[in-house]
Symmetry: C2
Subunit: 492 residues, 2 copies
């Protein structure tokens, strides 16, 4: 992968002098057009030490309007970052639509360094890279223009460069003992980097290897490629996928599906029995959240179900047992303006809890494959890819010691109607019922198909769905609490 | 202050049983109305140890819909919080309009504890409380409903309570050695708390002292007061101050003002001289930002000036000397939806830099007393109070070792016209010019008055304005760079 970047590429000074002014102007122009475009630009600048990464980043900031660029240097993660999944710190920094984000050091840096230092295995690196590739795939599907530059310097060139930096008193500070240590590891590093790049050089986000021997050559190359890709994207925006008519999968031949197979007649009729069980489970839950091991985990709960399925009431039975300082409920309604300018999972990433804390989502990231699918708020291609993106998201949660619980609250269409009517007749509950709720009822079959698909594709071993027969509210609440208590007991 | 809360207040169980259901329903009702109201509710729950603070917080969450409540327990600040002003962590947690935020432990907690432990002086406490009172004043002016509950327990009662908690195995965990240590300090703590409460019990946000001897009495009292205040605010919203006609202060008798007194004829005509000086200053700046002491500070710069005054160009001459990973430019345009749901300073607080980082604001919090004043985007009362709020904001920055620089770039009306015409004639610069720019020119005198007021009221010793004669761009840029370099040299 690096051979073409060891040919001693360079350009003459007059080429530089001639080309840079025009390039700058064109870049500024493109950057201006970007401000009103509906996509972000994400630029990674990676590579070997001493290969002018930060100089290139600075040049880009100098050539363009730095007011519309967000530049991030990779530093040690903060404690707030350490308590979340590895990718959380990058999600925080993603540029919104119309902006450019430059990452000097990125999601590649740690895995490559860890492998080069022998702290993780090759198979770990491969897994990390698979995840990274999926993340970038998601960014691209969400509209981002992703450019990945790898600054390369042959071994001999690197040595020469470090030496010359060291000789000049003005630049000596830039060469640290760590740089020489890295230099000794050059061959290992190169090999690891090559492996990482190979598996993440995808059609949509290929690595662009740039020789760093001649800084003028290097920067002009980066600038021209950036201009070309950005211009191409601005002038020929990705075709908007038209809203397709829905093709719900055909009902199974025997008419049985996972929702219909639920026994909604399950009930707890004895009020005393219900209340005793409720109190016992709430007591257990309270004790579990005060267990010392609880502080080593985070908990994320997602509640989904048709309108009036009893999500709010179930959530309240859980929070009654918790200390209000330790949980946060996130009711998911229409995204805010800042959320709309980001990939759809961003609004959930931003609310991920620290260790010892519980985040309860009243409706969740599954909206993508439920309401957004059925109502046509996103394209079929968008919700089709969401299944694996969601599985990936939950995988990252679980790997960072987050306990993930997902509840589907199921009621029959008749029971929903009964509850709607009850709401309409109770002044106090009337506000809970909107016109939309009545409209949604008409699409019941389409929703049912979407729900079955969702359960089939996202109920995983690490983050299984719990189907809750909620026709009887008492039965449903007890089942949810019991599931939660059991999960926590297993994890502690 | 605490006498009425040492009378052994209590209620009978049947009062509780009778009143709670109605209270809950009314609270839920009010909470629902709040979701569409244009103000947030901020509830502080403070008090002595063992006085049922967290229990009260939990009760409120149980009585109301916890999905619309954000509850925050005070914990040790994170490293990201430690690198910002003390109030940053609370600004992050402010509830937006339509939401309720409950703080169990608040901006009062540290100062009171620090004073009770003798780590700060009484005069420090007084200063902290003055600042806190100003902060709350600002919240209230911005529309917030602020309720401050102090949970009180007489000394004898507190001892009894701790003992009885210790006796029950189920509650023993809740009594820590720290609680007994605090108990020994009861009298000191009481005295300090009394002093803190006294100076912060303002007309708009008085402390409500609640006796905690009987939990039922305590919770019902809190719930009823919350309902009453919330209902009153919902039913009789604060009168919206009508947009007043502007009353610019009369021009000074001799026609001299601080802007007119500027000598705009200052120039650097020699291009070579300009370039040499520019490079020298940029070199110095670069070295300063690599000084080891630089990492102990943050830098915040605000650029203000009429359209086409040269803000962008000046900022660029600074960033050319910086490492792109260490600064972030924030161009201030219309606030986002999330920003509009918060006090106007919130959007600046959220961008405060960590140590060793530079935040450059291209237009700033001064918009409140410039464009918002002149265009009538806020009421006269709003911009009149902004001067002291801004001074307070900058004071907090400086006290947390942030170096604050504010530049006013001044050009004549004729020079502005010349630059507008130049922009119109240069295809590449045309986008910089909008209709609004032409419109703004008509209000030049009103802007001039606003600028003079701003300079008079916010140029402080800790955060002085630098007036920049920018009629000649070269002269202006050099002055800005030189000011910055001198400031950094002084601070290191």
């Amino acid at each position: 992968m690096f051979e073409s970047a060891e040919l001693g590429h360079k350009i003459d000074k007059d080429v530089w002098d001639r080309e840079v002014p025009a390039l700058r102007e064109a870049l500024l122009d493109a950057q201006f057009d970007l401000t009103t475009a509906k996509f972000p630009v994400i630029i990674l600048v990676a590579g070997v030490d001493g290969a002018g990464k930060s100089e290139t980043v600075n040049t880009l900031n100098e050539w363009m309007d730095p007011r519309h660029i967000q530049t991030h240097g990779l530093a040690e993660p903060s404690d707030e970052e350490l308590e979340r999944p590895y990718m959380w710190r990058y999600w925080r920094l993603l540029p919104p639509q119309g902006r450019m984000g430059i990452f000097d050091g990125s999601w590649y840096t740690w895995p490559i360094l860890e492998r080069a230092n022998g702290r993780i295995k090759t198979s770990d690196l491969d897994q990390d890279m698979t995840r990274v590739a999926r993340f970038e795939q998601m960014l691209i599907h969400e509209g981002a223009l992703v450019l990945k530059f790898w600054m390369h310097l042959g071994k001999g060139e690197q040595k020469k460069r470090l030496k010359s930096l060291e000789k000049d008193p003005k630049t000596r500070w830039r060469v640290t003992p760590r740089d020489w240590k890295h230099f000794e590891m050059y061959d290992t590093f190169r090999q690891v980097a090559e492996r990482a790049l190979r598996s993440t050089s995808t059609a949509d986000a290929p690595w662009i290897v740039v020789e760093a021997t001649d800084p003028h050559y290097q920067r002009l190359t980066v600038g021209k490629i950036l201009l070309e890709r950005l211009r191409a994207r601005l002038d020929h925006p990705a075709p908007v996928v038209p809203a397709l008519p829905l093709h719900p999968p055909p009902p199974s031949l025997d008419g049985v599906d996972i929702l219909k197979a639920l026994d909604l007649s399950k009930r707890i009729d004895d009020k005393k029995e219900y209340e005793d069980e409720l109190l016992t489970l709430q007591g257990k839950l309270n004790l579990l959240t005060r267990h010392r091991n609880f502080r080593k985990h985070s908990v994320v709960m997602a509640f989904e179900g048709v309108d009036a399925a009893g999500k709010g009431g179930s959530i309240r039975r859980i929070t009654q047992a918790l200390d209000a300082r330790h949980y946060q409920i996130h009711p998911i309604a229409a995204p805010t303006e800042e959320e709309r300018a980001q990939p759809y999972l961003w609004r959930f990433w931003r609310h991920l809890p620290r260790r010892g804390k519980v985040a309860i989502f009243d409706r969740s990231w599954y909206g993508r494959v439920l309401v957004e699918r059925v109502e046509g708020f996103c394209s079929e291609a968008d919700w089709q890819r969401a299944y694996s993106e969601i599985n990936e998201f939950e995988d990252q949660l679980v790997r960072s010691r987050t306990i993930v619980l997902k509840f589907w609250l199921s009621i029959s269409q008749e029971e929903q109607l009964r509850r709607f009517q009850e709401r309409q007749d109770t002044p106090f509950k009337r506000f809970k019922l909107g016109e939309e709720d009545w409209r949604n009822r008409e699409k019941w079959p389409a929703y049912e198909a979407a729900i079955c698909d969702m359960l089939d594709r996202t109920s995983t071993e690490i983050a299984p769905w719990t189907l809750v027969e909620s026709e009887d509210k008492h039965y449903g609440r007890i089942k949810i609490l019991r599931t939660l208590v059991q999960r926590l007991e297993e994890e502690m």
